[in-house]
Amino acid sequence: MAEITMLEGIRQALFEEMDRDPAVVALGEDIGVFGGAFKVTEGLLARFGPERVIDTPISETAIVGAACGMSYLGLRPVAEMQFIDFIACCFNQVTNFLAKSHYRWGAPVPLVLRGPSGGSVHGGPFHSANPEMYFVHTPGLKVVYPSTAYDAKGLLKSAIRDNNPVLFFEHKFLYRRIKEEIPSGDYTVPIGKAVIRRQGNDLTIISYAAAAHTSLEAAEQLGREGIDAEVMDLRTLLPLDRESILASLKKTNKLLIVHEDTRTGGIAGEIAAIVCEGAFEDLDGPILRVTALDTPVPYSPPLEHRFLPNAEKIVAAARALAKY
């Protein structure tokens, strides 16, 4: 057992999967000799060679399109977006080519599209985005967004072994800030399963990625105030773990949803609809949400601080909810 960062967990998953299966190849901008903008792919080229670790031109559409073509021949490409914001450049390939391939003509697309996402790093409007919901709204894709080193490694392995296109979001604020001990052997974490990070009885906080850590921080503070919050980490946004959401709600009867994504059209709205359809009678209060503002991600620290959800905002919302 060794203590590793989330970034290290992702890198280990890539190394181990490429070791295990020569059908796994990696491609993207600056991923080879340079080892990637965040050094996630460092060492891959040295070990697996230029046929399997491909430095591409700055061409997101070409990267994703080529990865799709490779997958048609039975390879399992892992394509990197240098920042996940740039996935907007290949939106058509992702939503029309990859996502519809199996449904339209029965051609599976076993590939992973991964990249650093999220704010809190003063990256400004084009290096901080959380564009997951464009893709959660696209049938045919799977969307994974881990918050721990253990999950990141296990989920990336599951994503690489999956027969469908999986979008794998890596919150860059968490890359080197969180560490944990993980087992040394091969393991996977199933796609589509949420996890309870903190047991509680008074209300449920559902979150994911960096916001899951913020929610845990808020739950500790709430605990000191006598409010016993349960914290659920979704881990996968598509397919959503409907059963776990309803089970927790039925236990605590109150629901607060926290995400770093912007408010309108965020996953909170979908979860609220699921709860209203599936457990309306169990609700003892309104479904509340703490999210980022409906604005682009601003650059200057006080602006970004205002934009993002934080423990303070979560605690305030939870206190209001607990009063019902």
Partner: protein, 431 residues
């Protein structure tokens, strides 16, 4: 250079072109009878391109049709019934009614990738197929088509640029049919010969008479050989004319009548029939025999399609994800050991061949300067491919810049367990 076609192969070309045309004429009638539920796009006058280029491929090669390449699907082994049922949205169609027109494919046998309606996106995808084929040692060539209009898209540029930097065994047939929906090619591309676009990628570009099936065949056959020899990709512009509107609903009144007349005199099938006759490759009996075979096959397949059921409604909910319904297995034609450590291990450095700057010798720069933006009178544009595959080292090259990167995972236990220390600086052996 290619070997001359046999008599049978000459008949094949006629058979497929005529089958393509007769199939589409029947579909026009079906469309007017409201039996085609969606749009119908004509390739009238462009049959020579689909047939000539697809016929130059081997069965192991891959293609991806665009909307006017039904003929290529026939060459690749799909049957007229596949086309009829696709257009009529029948349950018996290759997509079970989930998609229409030429939007279908076959990964296993016919090596055909289904297109999407957005133009240009097949270019990076087929580049990826070509790269994977090379990686697996399959020695395949991939081919797709694009229109004059589609060559204005970003995906065209990104795909062709990646193919060029990778030296991918990929052929792009640019069907210049003069019209992008209602907009003439002059408003799409400021080039006389669209093959001139090849110069921008440092790849071979050629312009051929798209209404001469043999010219298309020969140009594609040359391109296939060039790709197989590792000197791809190739861009072939085939000049032709879209003889109908964009689709059935469009009477194409924006096209001058004289332009239709000009091209009708150059119809690819009429021309090829005359060629076969002049060269005494066939006679009236042979022609009648092939035509009768086409009628028979189309009768049978049209009947099959018309009698086929529509899909059950519940099918709409099925098949979004592959949940074990497909086995994904790469077809390896080379030892896996070649691409696995320690054999795959390399020194992770770049070999920089030139330090850049205006004084640097750039092979081919002269041609670019003299090319007058591709507007030269010569129909052939030849730019010697010069991009080397990534990371390829040339022995005895002058200055090399070595960038020490690629240290591998930092976790000591992990490093030890995976023996990175041993292989990190291992140079890749020559194949």
């Amino acid at each position: 250079m290619n070997r001359p076609l046999t008599r049978e192969q000459h008949f094949d070309l006629y058979y497929y072109m005529q089958l393509n045309r007769q199939l589409e004429e029947r579909m026009v009638r079906l469309f007017r009878q409201n039996k085609i539920v969606g749009g119908l796009y004509s390739s009238l006058g462009q049959e020579g391109i689909s047939i000539g280029s697809a016929y130059a491929l081997e069965p192991r090669d891959w293609l991806a049709p665009m909307i006017r390449n039904i003929g290529a699907l026939l060459v690749k082994g799909f049957k007229p019934r596949d086309i009829f049922t696709q257009h009529m949205a029948k349950y018996t169609s290759p997509t079970f009614g989930k998609d229409g027109t030429s939007h279908f494919g076959d990964l296993k046998v016919r090596h055909t990738v289904s297109p999407i309606s957005m133009l240009g996106d097949l270019i990076p995808v087929m580049t990826g197929v070509a790269m994977a084929g090379r990686y697996l040692g399959q020695n395949i060539v991939t081919l797709t088509w694009i229109g004059d209009g589609g060559s204005s898209t970003g995906a065209f540029h990104e795909g062709l640029n990646l193919a060029a930097t990778q030296r991918a065994p990929f052929i792009l047939i640019l069907e210049n049919n003069q019209w992008a929906y209602s907009t003439p090619v002059s408003r799409q591309v400021p080039l006389k010969n669209l093959a001139g676009r090849a110069l921008a990628y440092g790849i071979t570009g050629k312009t051929v008479d798209g209404n001469d099936v043999l010219a298309v065949y020969r140009a594609t056959k040359d391109a296939v050989e060039q790709c197989r020899a590792g000197r791809g990709p190739v861009l072939i512009e085939a000049k032709t004319m879209r003889m109908k509107g964009h689709a059935q609903h469009d009477p194409a009144e924006y096209v001058p009548q004289a332009m239709f007349a000009h091209w009708k005199a150059r119809d690819p099938i009429t021309r090829y029939e005359a060629y076969l006759t002049e060269n005494k490759l066939w006679d009236e009996t042979k022609k009648a025999e092939i035509d009768a075979r086409i009628e028979r096959e189309l009768d049978e397949d049209q009947k099959f399609a018309e009698e086929s059921p529509l899909p059950p409604a519940e099918l709409a909910e099925q098949g979004v994800y592959c949940e074990g319904c497909h086995e994904i297995k790469a077809d390896w034609h080379r030892p896996k050991s070649e691409v696995t450590p320690p054999k795959s291990s390399v020194e992770p450095t770049w070999t920089v061949e030139s330090f850049g700057g205006v004084e640097a010798e750039i092979p081919g720069a002269k041609e670019v300067a003299l090319s007058d933006n591709g507007a030269q009178a010569s129909p052939a544009v030849e730019a010697e491919p010069r991009a080397k595959p990534a990371q390829q080292k040339t022995d005895g090259a002058g200055e090399r810049l070595r960038v020490p990167f690629g240290r591998g995972p930092k976790d000591k236990e992990f490093v030890k367990e995976k023996s990175f220390a041993r292989t990190r600086h291992h140079k890749r052996g020559k194949r």
